[in-house]
Structure formats: structure tokens, C-alpha cells
């Protein structure tokens, strides 16, 4: 595709997003979450695509090349998001110790099922080549694996619905919802959070090794240079991380915590229900805050968010020359579907993925977010280790 054609298509997509947003902004009171959701999704897509904010790549960069930048960017996202959440939460719920949980925040039940779900999700990341948000933005880059991974994720969700009831009754129902500010108060929670993040960043940095700086490309003017930095080169990982933290705060404040699986899960639930296979009751499921699935409507805020994400990532990739569609090889199809099933099961069972449970959870001070962080990282690394031996 010629460069100018790419730019024209990208501009058309961006304009369509803007028009869609304006149209949604005028919709009825009941639907007023749609316009901000579309905007948040589009911004998230640009951040993910431009800064390559992908949990698997970041982990792999570190363990293959000791490049710490991606992992530090994730920690930075959590740090910025925690600060932002703290501002919002201390305004909405000045006293967190009054027995109430933060409204809508993704605080999930902490127990062995969450740990298992995180681990399986991590294995799924390694096999499929990315987490769910990663596959979504790569769909916009023309990835041959992403479509299969997302189909796999939907199947995984279906499996998750089928295994939910026994898991709920045997374990999840008695697993506590641990909200750290309710135990510690906001200040001590935030201090502890920063201490832990700084300790991890220090550890990662201590063992890490920065790659040699790339020679700067010859550029003509300062404006050209700036445009090149923004639209062509990948953004520094830390810029992406900080931006994710800011966006997560804005999304929580305006609509709901960031998450990418509610729509996929909702469609899986609808399909399963129409096939008559969905358990009549999913015990306790809809009472939890998290990436909630529903069979009510097609055009949910999360569906709009995901559409915005893919469309924005697509236009961003087009301009950067990173839209490289390819025909899938059989191996990619198998890995995508297989890994996707694990991603879907893990995300359904953990009530969210690396975005909804990990980021939105840790930022809000939910212990469930931290458990998912450690177990999904363990699953990823275990699978990477096995993969290398094969």
C-alpha cells in the first residue's frame, strides 16, 4: 500500500471515529456512557499501538534480553493509575474504612481459583503470543494470529461459564474481597503501593540492561522530527505506561474501570445462552464488580470501547507503516485458538484480564489485582521456560 493511501485511509478512520463520537454524544441519557467509552477505547488503542504496551512482550524482552523498559512501564502505569484512583476515591468515598467498597472498582475475590485463573491466563499469553488487549491492538496491525486468538478467547469464556458454578460453590463464594485501603486507609495503602512498585522497579533495573541507543534518524526540521517521533517511531515504553495510568483514571472517573473483555465475554454468554448451553444460574457472578458480561444488549459501552481501540490502533499502525497484514499459517491458527481458549477461561474466571483485573485492580488497591499480576507472570514465565526446552 502506498504511503499516501495509508495516510488517507487512516485519516478517514479517525474522522469516522470523531463523527461516531459526536453522534453518540447526542444520544439519550441512558446511553451517555457510549461516547466517552469510544473515546477511551480509541485513546487506549493509540497508546497500546504506539508504545507496544503488551504484557507478554514486556516480560519476554526482560527475560530474553534483560531489557527492563517494558516491565518498568507496567509498574509506572500502576503507580500513575494508583495516584489517579486515589484522587478519585478519596473524593467519592472520603473514609474507606466504613465498610463499603470503592464504587464499581474491580475488587475481586482472592483465593486459589483467582491464582489458577491468573496462571492459566499467563500460559495462554505465551502460547497465543499476547494478552487480550495485545491481540486487540494487533488486530489493527493486521496480525494473522489475533483474530484466531480472539475467537479462542470467546470459546474460553464459554468454557469459563460452564466451569463457573462448581468453582464458585467450592471456593469463590468464601473467598474474601480484599480492598487494601479499607484495611490500611488511603495514605498507608498508597505509601505501601509505591514502596512495592519502587522495590520491583529497583530489582528489575538492577538486573536489567538497557539496549544500545538507536542512532537518531536524520531529520530535516524540528517539526518533522517531532512528527516522526509521534507518528512513526514507537513511543518510549514509559510514556505509554504513564499514559495508561492517566487514561485508567479518566475512564474510572467518567464511565467505569478500564477493561477489554466484557464485550467478548458478553457475546460468548449470549451465544451460549442461545444454544441453550448456558447454566440457568451463574451463582454470584453478576454481583461481582469486574469485567461484567451481560446478554442484554449488543452495543454496550465496552463493545464501543473495543471497536474504538481496534480502529484507532489500525489508523495509528497505518500511518507508522506498521499495518502488515499476512495470511495466517496453520501454526498461527492453532496457537491463536489454543492460547486464546486459555486466555478466555482465565479472564472469565478471574473476572477480567491483564487490563480489567491486573491494572484496574492494582490501581484501585484490590488484592485481587496483585494476585493476578504475580500468577499471570508466573504462568507466562513457566510456559516460556517450557517452550524454550521444546
Amino acid at each position: 500500500m502506498s504511503r499516501s493511501l495509508s495516510v488517507v485511509i487512516a485519516v478517514v478512520v479517525v474522522l469516522s471515529l470523531a463523527f461516531a463520537n459526536a453522534a453518540l454524544a447526542g444520544s439519550a441519557v441512558e446511553n451517555r456512557q457510549l461516547a466517552p467509552s469510544l473515546a477511551h477505547g480509541a485513546i487506549f488503542g493509540v497508546i497500546l499501538q504506539r508504545s507496544r504496551f503488551c504484557f507478554l512482550c514486556n516480560l519476554r524482552d526482560y527475560f530474553d534480553n534483560r531489557d527492563p523498559r517494558g516491565l518498568v512501564a507496567i509498574l509506572l502505569a500502576i503507580a500513575v493509575g494508583s495516584l489517579g484512583y486515589h484522587v478519585v476515591l478519596s473524593t467519592w468515598l472520603p473514609n474507606p474504612m466504613g465498610g463499603r467498597l470503592a464504587p464499581d472498582a474491580h475488587i475481586g475475590p482472592v483465593g486459589p481459583v483467582l491464582a489458577l485463573a491468573g496462571f492459566i491466563f499467563g500460559v495462554g499469553m505465551t502460547i497465543s503470543g499476547s494478552c487480550v488487549s495485545g491481540h486487540l491492538y494487533r488486530l489493527g496491525e493486521g496480525s494473522p494470529t489475533a483474530p484466531f486468538a480472539l475467537v479462542g478467547t470467546a470459546f474460553g469464556f464459554a468454557l469459563g461459564f460452564l466451569t463457573w458454578n462448581p468453582l464458585y460453590v467450592s471456593s469463590i463464594s468464601t473467598a474474601p474481597l480484599i480492598w487494601l485501603p479499607a484495611q490500611l486507609g488511603y495514605s498507608r495503602w498508597l505509601a505501601l503501593q509505591f514502596l512495592v512498585l519502587a522495590a520491583f522497579a529497583g530489582l528489575i533495573g538492577w538486573y536489567g540492561r538497557l539496549p544500545q541507543a538507536q542512532p537518531l534518524l536524520p531529520t530535516t526540521t524540528p517539526v518533522h522530527h517531532a512528527l516522526h517521533k509521534i507518528f512513526i517511531e514507537r513511543w518510549p515504553a514509559s510514556v505509554g505506561g504513564a499514559a495508561v495510568g492517566v487514561l485508567a483514571t479518566v475512564a474510572y472517573f467518567q464511565v467505569k474501570p478500564l477493561g477489554v473483555t466484557a464485550a467478548v465475554g458478553g457475546y460468548a454468554r449470549t451465544l451460549l445462552a442461545s444454544a441453550g448451553q448456558l447454566p440457568q444460574t451463574l451463582h454470584g457472578l453478576d454481583g461481582f464488580a469486574g469485567c461484567r458480561t451481560s446478554i442484554d444488549t449488543l452495543l454496550t459501552p465496552n463493545a464501543v470501547f473495543v471497536l474504538g481501540l481496534i480502529a484507532a490502533s489500525f489508523s495509528s499502525a497505518l500511518i507508522a507503516g506498521q499495518f502488515q497484514p499476512a495470511l495466517p499459517a496453520p501454526r498461527q491458527i492453532v496457537k491463536g485458538l489454543g492460547g486464546g481458549v486459555l486466555l478466555g477461561w482465565g479472564a472469565m474466571t478471574a473476572l477480567g484480564c491483564t487490563v480489567g483485573t491486573l491494572l484496574s485492580g492494582t490501581m484501585a488497591g484490590a488484592a485481587s489485582g496483585w494476585v493476578f499480576l504475580f500468577t499471570s507472570a508466573t504462568g507466562t514465565l513457566a510456559a516460556l521456560a517450557i517452550k524454550r526446552r521444546l
Binding site: V29, T91, P94, R100, P103, D104, D296
Partner: protein
């Protein structure tokens, strides 16, 4: 066009009530207040606006400036007994909301004031009927009029207010309803659920978990779904004349006391509010409602559809 019309309706209702507001420096005594009245009284220390919404996170992301939030799942029920909040806890709640004996409390909420009306019924039950009002149209009319919202949690100074004697007779109990069903009491029963629930075609609306093992209604009950009380476009109550006609067409004219019920007693509070506060009829709310009555051993039902519970 629809929007313009709803604005007109709102403006007319608003104009009617702003006359009242202008006439009284102190809060009006009417059961309803308009959004204009609330706007004028946002800074009034003797007015406390409280949101009671069904959906979580709605209040936090934007409420009437200065409004407090009552969470009906936690604040307005007794979580151990199946009951409304205890008198002691309700007293603590309104003390912490800065309510005193000369405070006018304005309740409002989402879903056409559904749960705000439940809140109002509890205020009445605990003897605060003279102090509580509903914002006509609730959140909907506030938003339709593009009025500003705030996201800060309001801070108020707690009071030492002691609740007066309550009015427990605003609440109907199972025995009252069975007596009415058996025609041992001269009372009219009002079923405000959907016609499908009333006729017994379905056990509960789709997606709803609280249900009864029997479908149908209390024998002799009259069916007027709660949504008919409000103008769906603005969320505001219909005019007194329209409401009077709505009920008198179904033979409820205030000559006999009424017991209103639904599935769990919340929606029926809205119909109870209309009957007692807007029409001046004698009415009680049966908060046990169909989940209690329909499951009670020995309580007769009328099931027009003839559905039988088979455990599925």
C-alpha cells in the same frame, strides 16, 4: 421533537411549582419539589438533597451539587432480618446526613425515582413524612434540563436529631393481605407488577432472581403497573387529574383503603406515594409483596394463566 416536548412539559410543571417556591422562603410543604426549586435551594442549609438510586456508581459520577447518597442495599434495609432499616440505624443514618427537625429532605434517584420513593416511604414510616419530598422527575429531569452535576462527596455536620414516633400503619403485613384476600377486611389490593406477572404467565420478569414458587396475584387485586404513574419521557409524575382518572378507571377512588404490593415492595412504594401523597388516599405498602405472599403456605392466589411451578 420529543425532547422539546418533554422540556415543555418540564417547564410547565416547573413554572407551577416555582410559584410555590417564590411564595415560600422556607421549603414548600408539597410532597413534590421541582428541579427549579431544588436549584434555588442548593445553598439552603435547611434543605438536604439525598440521592437514592438503583445503579451503583451513578451518584459518584455526577449528582446534584451538595447531594448525599443513600445506598438502599446497605442503608435502607436490615441485612439480618428481612426488614426495612431498624429505627436505631435509620436515626443514625439521618443524623449523619445532617438532618434536623427543621430540615427539608429532598430525595431523588434514577429509574423514575423508583428507589427514591421507597426511601420516601421509609421516611414516612419513621414519622418524617412532613419533612421529606421527592424531586419530581428525579435524575432524569435534572439531566434532561442539562443542569450541572457534581462529583464531590458532600460534607455535612451531623446532628443529634431524635426520630419522632413512627407511623407503622403505613406498612401492610402478610396477615393484612390475607384478610383482604379472604374478604375479611374492606380493603382494595393494588398489584403494580407487569400484566404478565399479574396474570401468572411468568413467575418473575426476565433476569430477576427473587421469585415465588407460585405465579399470579392476590385474589381480588387490581393491576395498574407502576410505570403508568409517570411520564416516561420526563420521569415526572403525571398530573393529579390524570392519576385520579388512571385509578378511578380501575375502581380505586380513595373511598376504601388500599394495600399496594409488587415483588419485593420497592416499586409499589412509588404507587403508594402517588395514592397517599398526590391523591390523598388512604394506602399502605406491603413490602413483603409477592416474594412473601406467593410463597406463604395457606395463602390463596388467583392465577389466570394456570401456570404450575415444576421446579424449573
Amino acid at each position: 421533537m420529543k425532547f422539546a416536548r418533554s422540556l415543555n412539559v418540564a417547564a410547565i410543571i416547573g413554572a407551577t411549582f416555582s410559584l410555590v417556591a417564590a411564595a415560600h422562603a422556607a421549603p414548600a410543604k408539597e410532597p413534590l419539589v421541582t428541579h427549579e426549586w431544588v436549584q434555588k435551594n442548593l445553598e439552603n442549609p435547611k434543605v438536604r438533597v439525598i440521592e437514592v438510586s438503583v445503579d451503583t456508581g451513578v451518584y459518584e459520577r455526577g449528582h446534584i451539587p451538595g447531594a448525599l447518597n443513600f445506598n438502599w442495599h446497605n442503608d435502607l434495609v436490615d441485612k439480618v432480618n428481612r426488614d426495612i432499616v431498624s429505627k436505631a440505624n435509620f436515626e443514625k443514618l439521618i443524623q449523619s446526613a445532617g438532618v434536623d427537625k427543621d430540615t427539608t429532605v429532598v430525595l431523588y434517584g434514577d429509574n423514575n425515582n423508583w428507589f427514591a420513593a421507597w426511601g420516601a416511604w421509609i421516611f414516612h414510616t419513621y414519622g418524617l413524612g412532613d419533612q421529606v419530598r421527592l424531586l419530581d422527575g428525579g435524575r432524569k429531569i435534572w439531566e434532561l434540563n442539562k443542569l450541572p452535576v457534581d462529583t464531590k462527596a458532600a460534607s455535612v455536620k451531623a446532628t443529634e436529631f431524635k426520630l419522632p414516633d413512627g407511623k407503622p400503619n403505613l406498612r401492610a403485613r402478610l396477615a393484612d393481605v390475607i384478610a383482604a384476600a379472604d374478604k375479611k377486611a374492606d380493603v382494595q389490593l393494588l398489584d403494580i407488577r407487569s400484566p404478565d406477572e399479574y396474570q401468572g404467565k411468568i413467575f418473575a420478569p426476565e433476569g430477576v432472581k427473587e421469585l415465588s414458587v407460585r405465579a399470579g396475584h392476590v385474589p381480588g387485586a387490581i393491576n395498574i403497573p407502576w410505570g403508568k404513574n409517570v411520564n416516561q419521557e420526563t420521569g415526572a409524575f403525571k398530573s393529579v387529574e390524570e392519576l385520579k382518572k388512571l385509578y378511578s378507571d380501575a375502581a380505586i377512588d380513595g373511598k376504601k383503603p388500599v394495600i399496594a404490593y409488587c415483588r419485593i415492595g420497592e416499586r409499589s412504594s412509588l404507587s403508594w406515594f402517588v395514592l397517599t401523597q398526590l391523591l390523598g388516599y388512604d394506602a399502605k405498602n406491603y413490602d413483603g409483596s409477592w416474594t412473601e405472599y406467593g410463597n406463604s403456605v395457606g395463602a390463596p392466589i388467583a392465577n389466570l394463566a394456570g401456570t404450575v411451578w415444576t421446579g424449573k
